[in-house]
């Protein structure tokens, strides 16, 4: 029993130490972002890799989520003759929850893994040491451009997922299920507010911070060899995804407390 308690204590202390290191990295990233000359070249390059190249994944995720959501809600609303409620339900769900969360999860899988693997490989092949030896801080050269790129790209990708989710929901609802187009659009506009869209976009900014911070941290602290890089990559995706899901709840509660629906 005592052994279990000691192990639990060590686990908690280890997690707290990791959280502390992550917060120090976040502080370093913010400080570097505002005190060092911006690296436009690297930032644009990363924005292209993170944002532009994630579009297909985000488009498919948004579109098929909107489509399946429209089909499922139609099945239920049709029973109580509320077919035209499908439009607002799809659009509110997409803007407030589904687009920001699913886009963040897809980006955590695609981009978070890539960042952790790249930085982890650079660590085990001494490329990070080489940067430091040349007087270049890895946070300045590697973390800040990825952090800024994710902050720029994720809200745009989320907006894209919102649009394609709602549009595909409209196609399925109106063309496939035969819901009246005018009522579908009218109800959708009536019940979807700017606040819904803004709350989704603001969430995505927080999710971008979490994914970038966790992925960079896991890459910078990767263990030795291929196994270390593999573990860092897996942890980056798992921890980023769980953080997105857990943070989503707290951010939603916070939003509702600040601006009641």
């Amino acid at each position: 029993m005592e052994g279990v308690l000691f192990r639990f204590r060590d686990f908690v202390l280890g997690q707290l130490a990791q959280l502390g290191s992550m917060l120090m990295l976040l502080g370093d990233i913010f400080k570097t972002t505002f005190t060092r000359r911006p690296r436009w070249g690297e930032t644009v390059d990363q924005t292209f890799k993170i944002g532009w190249k994630s579009q297909l994944v985000v488009l498919v995720t948004g579109a098929f989520t909107g489509m399946v959501f429209a089909v499922q809600t139609y099945q239920q609303f049709h029973k109580v003759k509320m077919d035209t409620a499908v439009g607002p339900v799809v659009s509110v769900a997409m803007t407030r929850e589904l687009a920001p969360v699913l886009t963040a999860l897809m980006v955590a899988g695609r981009v978070g893994a890539a960042i952790a693997a790249e930085l982890g490989t650079m660590k085990v092949t001494e490329q990070l040491d080489a940067l430091r030896a040349m007087g270049t801080a890895p946070v300045d050269y590697l973390a800040v451009p990825r952090f800024v790129a994710l902050l720029l790209a994720l809200p745009l990708l989320t907006a894209e997922a919102m649009f394609f989710g709602i549009f595909s929901g409209y196609i399925v609802g109106v063309r496939l299920c035969g819901i009246d187009e005018a009522y579908f659009i009218q109800n959708m506009i009536k019940f979807t507010t700017a606040k819904d869209v803004m709350s989704g976009l603001i969430k995505s900014v927080f999710f971008a911070m979490f994914i970038a911070l966790i992925s960079c941290y896991k890459g910078f602290t990767a263990g030795e060899g291929a196994e270390g890089v593999g573990r860092a990559t897996t942890q980056a995706v798992v921890v980023s995804s769980l953080t997105v899901l857990i943070a989503n709840f707290f951010i939603a509660v916070l939003f509702n407390a600040i601006i009641p629906p």
């Binding site: 092949t125 490329q127 080489a130 430091r132 040349m134 007087g135 270049t136």
Partner: protein, 255 residues
């Protein structure tokens, strides 16, 4: 000049360096020899503060580097060029961009000046033809030479070589040795190399220091090291596999 005083470093409870005292004088090339895992690379990384000591200090040009923050270390680090064991070239860049990297980071040279400097050092290491290749397309020897080009493109005061000839055939290893000598003569750098390769050590060293049991066990010129009767040094330089009895921790001056 670099002074190392009472340097100690442990990893996971295992003490690798147990109080290293040593001095590297301006203009000389010092080769640090020692068994695998003796802490040679660890010692080298302390010189340009890629690692921080648990105790003791490193003094570079009369500046104690231990209390300095990462940012304050930048001007100190710019005095160093570092050839890493695996060359540590950036995978995503061409050879030209790799070598140009430290110059571009200084942000005070035009692209024309950078191109001239890069082509100069690539010519010295014989890699001008390969300047547009990515590191993955280079052989081990080419990577070492490219790493050397990147290390010296800023004309640093100190050049640190981590196993410069390891993994190379004798001819390529000798080419690297010649390059190290050429760098010293051409750029007047102070060099510190760690190696197992005694042929290389004898060729490039002004002084050889042997790291054993976490301390500098013996120091001398290549001739003095070759002539020593110290059993630890003799076993290492002759490559004899017999086990030897425990030796004292004192520094044996080979004279």
């Amino acid at each position: 000049m670099i002074q190392i005083e009472g340097l100690r470093k442990s990893f996971n409870g295992t003490e690798v360096l147990c109080g290293v005292d040593f001095e590297i004088r301006d203009g000389e090339t010092v080769v640090i020899i020692g068994r695998s895992g003796a802490g040679k690379s660890v010692l080298l990384k302390h010189l340009c503060v890629l690692l921080r000591p648990d105790a003791g200090r490193v003094i570079v040009d009369d500046v104690d580097v231990e209390p300095l923050s990462e940012r304050a270390l930048t001007p100190i680090r710019k005095r160093f060029g570092f050839l890493f064991q695996g060359a540590a070239l950036f995978d995503s860049m061409t050879l030209f961009d790799n070598v140009a990297f430290p110059l571009r980071e200084e942000r005070k040279f035009s692209e024309k000046e950078i191109a001239e400097r890069v082509e100069e050092v690539l010519t010295i290491v014989g890699l001008l033809e390969a300047k547009d290749k990515k590191p993955a397309e280079l052989s081990g020897g080419m990577k070492k030479r490219a790493g050397l080009a990147r290390a010296c493109v800023t004309y640093p005061k100190y050049l640190l070589y981590d196993e410069p000839t390891t993994g190379l055939d004798p001819i390529r290893a000798d080419n690297i040795n010649n390059l190290v000598l050429r760098m010293r003569d051409r750029f007047k750098v102070t060099g510190v190399a760690v190696t197992h390769d005694m042929v290389s050590a004898y060729k490039i060293a002004d002084r050889i220091a042997m790291l054993h049991d976490g301390r500098i066990h013996a120091v001398g010129t290549p001739q003095e090291i070759q002539a020593t009767t110290d059993p630890v040094v003799r076993q290492f330089i002759t490559g004899a596999g017999d086990s030897i009895k425990e030796v004292s921790h004192g520094t044996a001056t080979v004279r």
